[in-house]
Amino acid sequence: MPVTYIDAIHQAMQELLEEDPRVFLMGEDIAGTFGGAFKATKGLEAQFPGRVINTPISEDAIVGFGIGAALGGMKPILEMQFADFGLLGLNQMGNNAGAHYYRTGVPINLTLRMPCGGTPGGGPFHSQSLEALFAHFPGLHVFTPATVADAYYMLKQAVQIPDPVVFMEHKFLYRWLKADTWHDPQPLPVGKARIARAGEHATVIAFSAMVPEALKAADLLASASGYHIEVVDLRSVKPMDTDTILASVARTGRMLVVSEDFPWGGVASEVVARVAAEGLHLLDAPPLRLTSKDTPIPSHADLWKAHRPHSNDIADAVRYLISL
């Protein structure tokens, strides 16, 4: 029976709770039979009584409590109901958790789960990605899994890493993305990007839900035009695996970066900046970006589909890139 991306997240949390008594979960509506807005924690309180804690609607305090619990020797996994509301915990994450190791030498072992990204009808405040805002702060790692196996392994790794980790789980992938298993015989270490598809004519850098879109675009281009597109899945935007990006650009000479986030100062900008600074000589054409539009995310499904990069948009952008 196939497993989904959210099954993998649930499985990872169940195993983490089993394996380590210091792990516990905290968030809004996550306990009891309800099990969270997306059911990621369903059934876990019954299995681990006292270790799945419902909170008031207080994102700042959820993160603050997580910091304190980590200082007290625990390994909290905190759930923001939507990444958009993670902004209300951003001060605690950036200024408190993120700054803590450098200031004191004591790392904060917390994991912040953030259901992110757009879904049809999600609208302006239940669709944002925001990984760049969190990645901006020193001291935070930001993971952006794009496969069922990565959702499983990277969440487990996030909790094993002693620092604060922002775990961006894409809501669209929750039940849409399926695999035979979450097991991977050779899981990549976190911090390493993955060549999701090898190619030669251009590189598409993507992460999170843009990886399946980019793979679809690569299929389309292969069948329609015979172009072989290399797709690089960043897996984590911070740390960013610049070596794998540059190696791919060296093979293809052309790069498009795709991100579902807003354009201004985003992960795509960071990738382009790094490639321009460290690999300009590898490029046969200007590095391109394809992001969502610089407006709030619209609610109507037709507007939403036009707001974010779609596989057809990616294919068109690659065609343009190759024409340059």
Binding site: S58, A61, G66, G68, L71, G72, H141
Partner: protein, 322 residues
């Protein structure tokens, strides 16, 4: 109570001596950034911390809490090291002035964002509970201005909902920087605690023995399992917000009303009346504290400061390959 009273008083004397020294050093240009005194807050700070057990309880001191740090059991040397950025200090010059703590010993290293540490202390106490330690308590302290901050509200509410043994101390010194109470809130601060469902206490923070009794009741109740406690202790900030600030916005009439309510002088008077202190023992204590402050400041000034060329510019403990 005599033992706690004398321990708290010594912390107050030490803190005053330290504050006097750092103020002078700031004005002489020897300390950069800022110097923040606890003048007027000594009784509250010392009494909130004196009933805590280092190594068992947790404590989140902040801006005017030097006396609390001393009562908790940290030396003024650590405070001096943070002011001077000594690499021997626990912040290694990476954070300064009052921003220091030893999280693994139970004190937080506060950030500047007011109210942020209330949730952190809640989490530290929650960790104790999850580890089966039920008689450990946490003390966290704030000024009147912080009660207006959203993060503080969230934390107080969550501490109340989770029924954690945390004592939230509000030192109402009547001014948040230059903002008087009337522009900060339109209620009785005691009602705020009641509103969260916290057991609430009030005391005159310039009255040493009353403050000691109040903090004792609050800490004892929390330790006994009676849930979180809220203490509003009223005083006047008898200095500027920092030593860069002359506090000229505080009316002279208000300053005059507190002229004979310096908590240190009140404590001395009360302890002598109780027969727990004599003029001679007080003079000896003052000499001891002044000497310790002098030694600590001299040592901190001599210690190495951070070297940018050898600084480990890493913000995370886990270091990926690049």
């Amino acid at each position: 109570m005599k033992e706690a009273a004398l321990k708290a008083y010594k912390a107050m004397v030490m803190a005053r001596a330290f504050d006097t020294k750092t103020s002078a050093l700031y004005k002489a240009g020897k300390i950069l950034g800022g110097v923040f005194l606890g003048r007027g807050h000594e009784a509250i700070a010392a009494c909130e911390a004196v009933f805590l057990r280092k190594g068992h309880d947790v404590y989140s001191p902040f801006i005017r809490e030097q006396a609390g740090r001393c009562a908790w059991g940290d030396s003024v040397l650590e405070s001096a090291r943070t002011y001077f950025g000594s690499v021997e200090g626990c912040m290694h010059g990476r954070d300064g002035n009052v921003h220091w703590g030893k999280p693994l010993e139970g004190t937080t290293a506060p950030i500047s964002h007011l109210g942020a540490m209330a949730a952190v202390i809640g989490g530290m106490v929650l960790a104790k509970r999850m580890q089966g330690i039920t008689d450990a308590v946490g003390v966290t302290c704030y000024g009147d201005g912080t009660t207006s901050v959203g993060a503080f509200h969230e934390a107080c509410n969550m501490i109340a909902v989770l029924k954690l043994p945390v004592i939230i101390v509000v030192s109402n010194n009547q001014y948040a920087y230059s903002t008087p109470n009337t522009q900060e809130f339109a209620c009785d601060l005691l009602d705020r605690g009641r509103g969260y469902g916290l057991t609430s206490h009030a005391c005159d923070g310039t009255d040493f023995l009353q403050t000691l009794e109040t903090m004792h009741s609050a800490v004892t109740a929390a330790r006994r399992g009676e849930g979180p406690q809220w203490v509003v202790a009223t005083t006047l900030r008898m200095c500027g917000h920092g030593e860069h600030d002359d506090a000229s916005y505080i009316p002279e009439t208000l300053k005059a009303a507190y002229a004979d309510r310096d908590p240190l002088a009140v404590a001395r008077r009360q302890l002598i009346e109780c027969g727990w202190l004599t003029e001679d023992t007080d003079a000896a204590l003052n000499r001891e504290c002044t000497d310790e402050v002098q030694r600590s400041v001299a040592q901190a000034q001599k210690e190495a400061t951070p070297n940018p060329a050898t600084e480990d510019w890493q913000a995370t403990s886990w270091r990926p390959f690049r």
